[in-house]
């Protein structure tokens, strides 16, 4: 899908969030000189092509009581990577699961998963359950709990 200047105008118009009014797409259209129908069609296309990954609420975990956000990182042998990644992603407590490059020797981990929980104890217990359930006992891992959060712009890209 080729993106035009008009598309970037549309993206800029909804960047900060969709207006909270009865006909939000008409409202957005008025700002950039499009009809409601044009806005609806184009947003639909962007969603279909995956340019818009998802459309909905962006939650702030911390304000919702999920204060123990943990990044659990794993050093998975290449031949097990897809299997472990897919199975981790399937678990209800895992909210993100990515393969990333190792940075040897300092950083040996290549699979990153995010677990949000209400306490560190609960997250640790969940990780232990995952290891048993998915047969990961011979895989090196580490849990990085979050401390202070310095900046959250409300991610627009992910």
């Amino acid at each position: 899908m080729v993106m035009s200047d008009r598309d970037y105008q549309l993206i800029a118009a909804i960047q900060g969030g969709l207006p909270l009014v009865s006909h939000p797409y008409a409202d957005v259209g008025r700002r950039i000189g499009w009809s409601e129908e044009q806005v609806i069609t184009r947003i639909g296309e962007m969603q279909q092509r995956g340019i818009i990954k998802r459309f909905g609420v962006v939650v702030r975990h911390h304000e919702l009581g999920y204060t123990a956000n943990a990044m659990v990182v794993w050093d998975v042998p290449e031949q097990r990577l897809d299997e472990v990644g897919e199975r981790l992603g399937d678990q209800s407590c895992v909210t993100l699961c990515y393969q990333r490059p190792r940075r040897l020797p300092e950083w040996p981990y290549n699979l990153f998963s995010m677990i949000h929980g209400r306490s560190q104890e609960r997250v640790t217990a969940q990780v232990e359950q995952l290891i048993e359930k998915l047969g990961l006992s011979d895989i090196r891992y580490d849990i990085l709990f979050s401390g202070r959060r310095f900046k959250q712009r409300g991610a627009r890209y992910q």
């Binding site: 969709l18 009865s22 639909g44 998802r54 992603g89 393969q99 990333r100 401390g147 900046k151």
Partner: protein
């Protein structure tokens, strides 16, 4: 936050309708009125329980760059480095984590090349190495953040 707020969050993490009166459609699905839904969304935004209501873009497909970066910053230097890093407009979230790799931030840039550039600039300003760890593969997870 009551049960209705919770069900709004649980139901609206994706799949928002693209039609002329989307909030009315969602409100009906949730069994509440449209104006009630709009008011509650507004309140949750004001209370900062939600950071935004709208689209989440796929940065790479928009032509931009995106990466997760980490730095090993000793506690004594942390505040200074955090300030310097956060001054970069491309830095989205920045988290402290209790680990030798103590600072973790997301870079979202207008072009893919800008990611590496920004990393080098951050290294120059702070004096610490930036470990750039862009996504190689994403494994599917459902939208299941339940409150």
């Amino acid at each position: 936050m009551d049960d209705i707020d919770r069900s709004i969050i649980n139901n609206l993490q994706g799949g928002f309708p693209i039609c002329d009166h989307p909030y009315a459609v969602v409100a009906e699905r949730l069994g509440i009125g449209e104006s009630d839904l709009l008011e509650r969304l507004q309140q949750m935004l004001e209370k900062k329980q939600l950071s935004r209501f709208g689209p989440m873009y796929h940065a790479e497909r928009l032509g931009g760059g995106l990466s997760l970066c980490a730095m090993r910053v000793p506690e004594a230097d942390f505040e200074r480095v955090a300030e310097q890093v956060n001054a970069f407009p491309e830095v989205a979230h920045n988290y402290a984590r209790d680990h030798e790799f103590s600072m973790w931030f997301v870079l979202g840039t207008e072009t893919p090349e800008r990611v590496e550039e920004a990393c080098r600039e951050i290294e120059q300003v702070t004096g610490y190495r930036v470990y750039n760890m862009p996504k190689k593969q994403e494994f599917f997870v459902g939208l299941k953040f339940e409150v």
